[in-house]
């Protein structure tokens, strides 16, 4: 069987974001494999360990994504395909470009992150499924496959659902699906020799980003000392919330 993880590289959530000329400037941010995609990489490796076959990484994004691709290979995936495209590309257009590669690869299972940590989009998985005419399960917390079928558990707005569906299918990840492994030193050494096939893309985005800004609300930052007299601090806080902020 063949298992594909579609991944992206995003700024580490702890990195400071800068804005330059109305755009997020990532030049000084630490960039990592999106942690939601990390669940996808871990899952394809586990599926391969259990069912045999191949685990493949597919990425669509700028040249710099190669680092994230190497991380996924160091975790244990077999090989990778990187569609190189600079700049913003909306998820519907991304899905179109990715579908071409995925159709050719013909995997049984495609996994990708539930939400992107840079564009906060949840659309890539469902859009890929549509492009391929496959079913999709979003926010997957458990996945088992058997004889061309999958059984999955996934989160809804309120609650969860267990579903059965035929393969091939697309799944988007949610915390709880697994615990991603760390790349080991031998893993990192081996990854250097693994194949990354690169291909340019020439897709045009349907959505344009006009302007980005960081509008952190100015917070009051009024701290009370509750170490000596917790009662007094608590009374004062409740008074402030009632009289000053007027929220209780």
């Amino acid at each position: 069987m063949k298992f594909v993880a579609v991944i992206r590289q995003v700024p580490d959530s702890e990195s400071r974001l800068k804005i330059d000329a109305g755009r997020v400037d990532l030049s000084s941010a630490t960039l990592i494999l999106d942690q939601m995609d990390e669940y996808a990489v871990e899952e394809v490796i586990r599926l391969q360990e259990k069912h045999g076959g191949e685990s493949v990484i597919v990425a669509l994004g700028p040249e710099r994504f190669e680092e994230a691709v190497r991380t996924a290979l160091a975790m244990g995936a077999d090989r990778a395909i990187h569609l190189v495209q600079e700049g913003y590309l909306d998820p519907i257009t991304q899905a179109e470009a990715l579908a071409e590669v995925l159709r050719a690869e013909a995997p049984d299972v495609v996994l990708t992150g539930g939400q992107q940590a840079d564009w906060d989009s949840q659309a890539l998985g469902p859009a890929i499924a549509e492009a391929l005419g496959w079913p999709v399960v979003t926010w997957t917390t458990a996945l088992e496959i058997e004889d061309g079928w999958a059984k999955a558990r996934h989160d809804l707005d309120e609650g969860a659902e267990v579903v059965r569906l035929s393969l091939p299918a697309v799944f988007t990840t949610q915390q709880g699906l697994n615990e991603p492994r760390y790349p080991t030193l031998p893993g990192i050494m081996k990854a250097k020799k693994k194949e990354i096939r690169k291909a340019p893309t020439a897709a045009a985005s349907k959505v344009e980003v006009l302007e980005q800004s960081i509008q952190e609300r100015a917070r009051l930052g009024k701290l009370l000392d509750g170490t000596k007299d917790p009662q007094a601090a608590a009374s004062e806080l409740i008074r402030l919330l009632h009289e000053e902020a007027k929220v209780i």
């Binding site: 959530s13 909306d90 899905a95 940590a117 906060d120 469902p126 399960v137 659902e161 701290l223 917790p230």
Partner: protein, 313 residues
């Protein structure tokens, strides 16, 4: 023409549907507003819906699956000649609207806060980078929009639209639901609460949440939890606030023994007021707090409950 996909609970339109109608009316330069209701036994919701839109299309397709909703919304968009489709942006609609956008060859504006038009494009604002950045996006028509819940005033009814049955060509069912677990919420729902009291791992035990519940009750609010607490099995996942949990935007968010990791902040940093109690004065949560108490939660929480009771008397 603009099409609103009107979410409902089987009996009534949901708040999100009325927010989506408001959004559609704000784009009236692009055309009149029709609606579609999708699901089963739709007579009563269709009756309610016709008061908000010119034409309600009724798509009886049975229980929810993403494929069915996408197919029904697509059929309605074709029938209405809609170049703009708007739905409210819960997890469910965010899983079928990409399918619809793909099928329509449309741009997708996801989880938008505000939408306007310059006559040929739709311009939207939204959060990105885990809620840290506000961005403006633009897309030419056709476009599919999801509206972030609780960001838009609810539409008022405006008359008597017509009701039309819609025939939908359903794709063969690909997903079979074996089991559905709906969370039993007691009290106010987390995403709609005006007060949220969240407990973090620093509370030390599931038992300590009795105090969190008591304070939330006294303030007419809902209980939230961090991922650390949910992973430890102290609280149900439905209470998790953050990147992989719920996004809340209450009048006041009270974080008790919560460190304030960025992934947690992603779910609460737009709250009007943020209050933190933490024994570590350097905890990141204090950097985004309006009010805070540096102290031991086991002493401060009972004192907060006492002080709130006094205020109520």
């Amino acid at each position: 023409m603009i099409l609103v996909v009107l979410e409902h609970d089987g009996a009534r339109l949901r708040k999100g549907a009325l927010e989506a109608v408001t959004r559609a009316r704000q784009l009236s330069a692009l055309g009149g507003v029709s609606g579609v209701v999708i699901g089963e036994n739709l007579t009563s919701v269709a009756e309610e819906a016709r008061r908000y839109v010119d034409t309600v299309y009724v798509a009886e397709v049975g229980a929810y699956t993403a494929e069915k909703w996408a197919a029904a919304a697509y059929a309605a968009a074709q029938k209405a000649g809609a170049k703009v489709v708007i739905a409210s942006g819960g997890r469910q609609s965010r899983s079928w609207t990409p399918r619809l956008a793909y099928r329509l060859g449309a741009g997708l504006l996801e989880d938008t806060l505000e939408t306007s038009t310059d006559g040929s494009r739709v311009i939207a604002s939204r959060y990105s980078f885990l809620n840290r950045v506000t961005e403006k996006q633009a897309a030419s028509l056709p476009v599919v929009i999801t509206a972030k819940p609780n960001t838009t005033p609810l539409a008022e009814p405006q008359g008597e639209g017509s009701v039309e049955d819609l025939s939908v060509e359903l794709p063969p069912a690909q997903v079979e639901v074996l089991e559905r677990v709906t969370e039993q919420k007691k009290g106010v729902s987390l995403t709609e609460a005006t007060v949220v009291v969240t407990g973090g791992r620093g509370l030390g035990s599931p038992e300590a949440f009795a105090g969190v519940e008591e304070l939330a009750d006294l303030l007419g609010g809902a209980v939230g939890a961090t991922r650390a607490v949910v992973d430890a099995g102290w609280r149900p996942y439905g209470e998790q606030v953050g990147q992989t949990g719920k996004t809340v935007q209450p009048g006041v968010y009270i974080a008790l023994a919560v460190s304030g990791a960025v992934q947690h902040q992603a779910g609460m940093n737009k709250s009007k007021y943020i209050v933190a109690v933490n024994k570590d004065a350097e905890a990141p949560i204090f950097k985004i707090a309006d009010y805070g108490i540096v102290g031991d939660v086991h002493q401060v929480l009972p004192a907060l409950i006492e002080a709130t009771k006094k205020l109520r008397d």
